[in-house]
């Protein structure tokens, strides 16, 4: 009987063991799809923010988020095995964003310089800084200050810049930032301190020039 089924070439599809295997496969497939959908619903915006922190462009960040989940799709069967899904996802998003930033670096730089020329007025911002009555919160909220900060952050060394940018994603703790970057947590703190010190120096230097 078994031999006949083998000769028909449909033994594996017709035997009860094969049917149960097929059912198991469908069940695991459905479970993996459901887990992936849940992952997307929970973390899509988080992934977007990580990508945006690096790319500084909404369209590019969304494309990076799409790419990130496409990479996840390839390993969706193994999703239940992953323990720290958020950190794991953050790392994938960070890699996607870095890959994408290398591709569009020149275009982003030209966009940044264009936006600076249009909306950034460092002299006005720095003049406001000289005013003791100026409110730092209001200044920080201004488009000019945002553009100025973008420009100053872009001048930082890459390791400091990336650490600073990732750490501005509010959902990530310093430990998770360390896990994403693959460095010790102490190194993250050191880099953040150095980045902040450099930013302050550059702002002071700009302020001194205008004074």
């Amino acid at each position: 009987m078994t031999g006949q089924v083998i000769l028909n070439g449909t033994m594996l599809a017709e035997s009860p063991a094969s049917q149960s295997r097929e059912a198991d496969r469908h069940a695991s497939e459905a479970a993996a799809t459901q887990a992936l959908e849940q992952l997307v619903r929970e973390h899509a915006r988080f992934v977007f923010r990580i990508a945006f922190s690096i790319l500084r462009d909404h369209h590019e960040a969304e494309d990076a988020a799409q790419e990130c989940f496409l990479r996840v799709l390839k390993v969706k069967q193994r999703l239940p095995e992953i323990r720290e899904q958020k950190t794991w996802l953050a790392r994938i998003a960070w890699r996607c964003a870095l890959d994408r930033s290398q591709k569009v670096r020149s275009r982003l730089h030209s966009d940044l310089s264009l936006s600076n020329s249009e909306s950034d007025d460092p002299a006005a911002t720095l003049a406001a800084l000289r005013d003791p009555a100026a409110d730092p919160e209001q200044l920080a909220a201004s488009a000019q200050m945002s553009a100025l900060l973008e420009r100053v952050v872009a001048t930082l060394p890459e390791d400091l810049r990336i650490t600073l940018q990732i750490s501005t994603v509010q959902e990530l703790t310093s430990g998770e930032v360390a896990a994403v970057l693959g460095i010790p947590e102490g190194s993250v703190r050191t880099r953040l301190m150095r980045a902040r010190k450099l930013l302050k120096q550059k702002l002071q230097q700009m302020l001194g020039e205008t004074l």
């Binding site: 959908e37 923010r49 922190s53 730092p136 200044l139 920080a140 900060l149």
Partner: protein, 207 residues
Amino acid sequence: MNHKPESNRDQIDQLLDASLTRYNSTAEPRGGLEDRILANLRSHPVAEASGWFSWHWFNRNWITASAVAIATVMLIAVLLMPRTQRQNPSPIIATNKNAEPTPIHQTTPDTGASQRRVSTKHHAPSAKSLPSQHITVAAAVPHLEVFPSPTPLSAQERMLLSYVRRTPREVMVAVSEEQQLHEQEWMQGMQSMQPQQRSEQKSENLK
């Protein structure tokens, strides 16, 4: 004296804190990001689960897979077989009934097949070093009507051919009859001898 720079420094600190807090505040995607991502994921086939070659596919189509594997092995074997083994090496001369039997290299049209054959025979070790243009030209020539391809006559064959041409037919018939008669006499003589004498006679003939 230092009051103003210190206040500036404090202000810069505060400004930096506030600015870095707001640094990623504009990172809000357009609405429906999750739906767009899910739609994109659904439109992409899953390589791991439904790839054309998977263990599941192999289980279901093992006969097809075996046939494909055997065919692939045979094809590779044929391709790897030396070229000389694939060709029939017997040099048979073309038998064109309408034409006069003349040496092949004079009457047969100069075909690429014959050239290729001669070339393979004499220059086989350097076949790889031939220019690609030569190979292309040879392959473009159509096949001969006669198979296997005719080869040039040997020196003995050419001598026989010229003898046949020169000699009148009556003379050849007479010579042939005389030769047959001589052979018959010789056979009768051999049959009448004892086996030992026969071997001696053979050895004498050989000498």
